[in-house]
């Protein structure tokens, strides 16, 4: 049923329909509304049988999920940013143990400096962990992806995280067509375990594996993720056939058929990009968009195929590898190995800085003119940067950079108080 609803609530309602059995989470902005909403439903008895555990840290959250999942319960948690890092040992552990846990990651920047706003640095921190990572473009997709995630996780025995932009999606109120229980029950069969702690058939789970077998165990995890490259589109197709909605899948393309310039991005910024692309199209530019939904496993074949006619690819991402450059751009470049395609890396939206349509239009214009360097930080205030560089050059005791920059930005404003 179509409802005007906050993204977090839409996700909570959908997760509830998936019949989770153990929900365990620690509060962190901007995930709080999701877990609070699920918590209320559990307490009211709506989700019985379901246990809601108020854990003392994110590390405990993922650990409780591990114990629950290994015992045969459908487990769910949610976190962001610092919380994800706090549980990172358990994140890798869950993937290594092959437990089909589903987690919502409300993407938020990682500090220091502490920042509660959206970017993708948190998801990037665990991209090698063995979790499947799916990025939602809208709240509709975010909600729908959770149903697909449980199905995918349990089919493959691989944990899945659904990434949705913190605040931008979680706290936005928009129309979402919520699924109903009957649909979810038919789409998502009961959790059928590959391994379980059972007193009637005892097993030991979590043994040490030495050099003689570790590579093989790791390779098997890789194989399972590669299998996902088939399962993800299959599940999305089945979902589309039943709902008419194209949520999920590996990638989404927009006006790429004849495009010579293609923008590649993930998450909610795709909406703004599409508006900017439409305007550039009106100005005669041959430009399109590829949205990556499945970031891990990375759909190299599909990306290469979608970009095959492009001469220029602009990868716009909300994270980067410090000292190196774009992360998504690196993955895209790998997929385009051997082609003549030129890749431009654009880093934007860090720490929640708004990515405006106007800014994108200017960017795409410059790309068309061939004016772009290979790595660009969108809307970077070069003057502010230079002032701090000068400060650091002129004295050893220049103080903390972040505070210097804030003071720098605050001075003109303070001067204007009337």
């Amino acid at each position: 049923m179509l409802e005007q609803i906050e993204g977090s609530r839409a996700v909570a309602e959908t997760v509830a329909l998936c019949r989770p059995e153990v929900v365990c989470a620690y509060p962190i902005s901007p995930q709080t509304h999701i877990i609070e909403a699920v918590g209320v439903m559990v307490k009211e008895g709506r989700l019985a049988p379901c246990e809601f555990i108020n854990v003392e840290s994110e590390f405990a959250a993922m650990s409780v999920a591990i114990g629950a999942s290994a015992t045969g319960a459908r487990a769910y948690t949610a976190t962001a940013s610092q919380g994800l890092l706090y549980m990172i040992e358990a994140v890798y552990n869950a993937a290594g143990l092959g437990l089909p846990i589903v987690m919502t990651l409300a993407n938020r920047a990682i500090g220091a400096p502490i920042n509660i706003w959206n970017d993708h640095s948190d998801a990037m921190a665990v991209r090698d962990s063995g979790w499947i990572q799916l990025f939602a473009e809208t709240n509709q997709e975010a909600a729908d992806l959770h149903v697909q995630a449980f199905r995918l996780a349990e089919e493959l025995s691989v944990p899945v995280m659904v990434c949705m932009d913190g605040f931008i999606l979680t706290h936005a109120v928009e129309g979402v067509d919520l699924l109903d229980q009957a649909f979810v029950d038919s789409f998502l069969p009961p959790y059928d375990l590959r391994q379980v702690l059972d007193v009637e058939q005892p097993v030991s789970i979590g043994a040490m594996v030495g050099p003689e077998a570790f590579e093989e165990v790791r390779y098997l995890a890789h194989l399972r993720q590669l299998e996902a490259l088939d399962h993800i589109p299959a599940i999305a197709e089945e979902f589309a056939a039943m709902t008419g909605r194209h949520s999920g899948g590996l990638i989404h393309t927009y006006r790429t058929e004849d495009a010579t310039t293609i923008v590649v991005a993930m998450g909610s910024v795709l909406g703004t990009i599409k508006d900017a692309v439409d305007i550039r199209r009106e100005a005669g530019e041959s430009i399109g968009v590829v949205g990556i939904t499945s970031f891990r496993p990375f759909p190299s074949t599909q990306v290469r195929e979608a970009l095959r006619h492009a001469t220029q690819v602009v990868v716009l991402e909300k994270a980067f590898s410090i000292g190196h450059g774009g992360i998504l751009a690196t993955d895209v470049a790998m997929a385009l190995r051997g082609t003549d395609c030129v890749i431009r890396e654009v880093v934007a939206g860090l720490g929640g800085r708004p990515i405006t349509r106007q800014s994108l239009e200017r960017l795409f214009y410059r790309v068309e003119q061939g004016e772009l360097d290979s790595l660009l930080f969108l809307d970077l205030d070069v003057d502010v940067v230079n002032r701090e560089v000068e400060r650091m050059r002129s004295t050893r005791h220049s103080g903390p950079s972040a505070e210097n920059v804030l003071r720098d930005l605050g001075e003109p404003r303070v001067g204007q108080v009337s």
Partner: protein, 196 residues
């Protein structure tokens, strides 16, 4: 697309206002998107929220840079925040105050924007009278409906009642109706004065 930007301070229901407005538009079969500016939200700190209304899918996620309407819930923000930045020349301004634009020192707005699109509304007083609390957001939405016609009063009343359960919802809806009447009269007078 019709874009609204709401300015106020934390604790005044600025975020709720945008949300209720979006629900009102949705109930009338439109597409709507509402979200806050996500500042460090403390009671009293400046807060901005946004609402977009359209008949097509709303894809963009940027803050509202070029609003068609600006609602100001707290006049102490004047001169502290650039409230009308990007506002279309035929855009609407709705200010929560019992004073006039001139008394607020905003007479220059008359030369920048269409006079019939500018309105003040004593929403806090109306809220106090109907709801018993100085929360002007619901009242302002009724005024907005009258000023812009972008949503109907009925839709606003329903959205308010859905958001605030029980008698609180009713009283807020009545505040919205009262403001609607105030602005309807106000714009009629301005129109009449304009034709003299």
């Amino acid at each position: 697309m019709f874009q609204v930007r709401i300015h106020g301070r934390g604790g005044q229901g600025v975020v709720t206002a945008a949300e209720i407005l979006s629900v009102a538009a949705f109930d009338e079969g439109r597409q709507a998107q509402a979200f806050p500016s996500f500042g460090s939200e403390r009671t009293g700190a400046p807060v901005v929220s946004y609402c977009r209304i359209d008949d097509r899918e709303i894809r963009t996620r940027e803050p509202v840079m070029a609003p068609d309407a600006v609602i100001v819930q707290d006049v102490t923000l004047i001169n502290q925040v650039d409230l009308f930045s990007g506002l279309s020349p035929v855009g609407y301004i709705l200010i929560n105050t019992s004073r006039s634009f001139e008394e607020l020192g905003l007479a220059d707005l008359y030369s920048r924007f269409a006079r019939t699109h500018l309105a003040t509304c004593p929403a806090t007083d109306i809220a106090l009278e109907h709801v018993g609390r100085p929360l002007p957001n619901a009242a302002l939405l009724g005024a907005f409906a009258a000023l812009t016609g972008e949503v109907t009063l009925d839709a606003v009343r329903k959205a308010i009642r859905d958001h605030f359960a029980g008698p609180v919802g009713e009283r807020n809806a009545d505040a919205a109706s009262a403001s609607f009447d105030v602005i309807t009269k106000f714009t009629l007078e301005v129109a009449r004065a304009g034709t003299n």
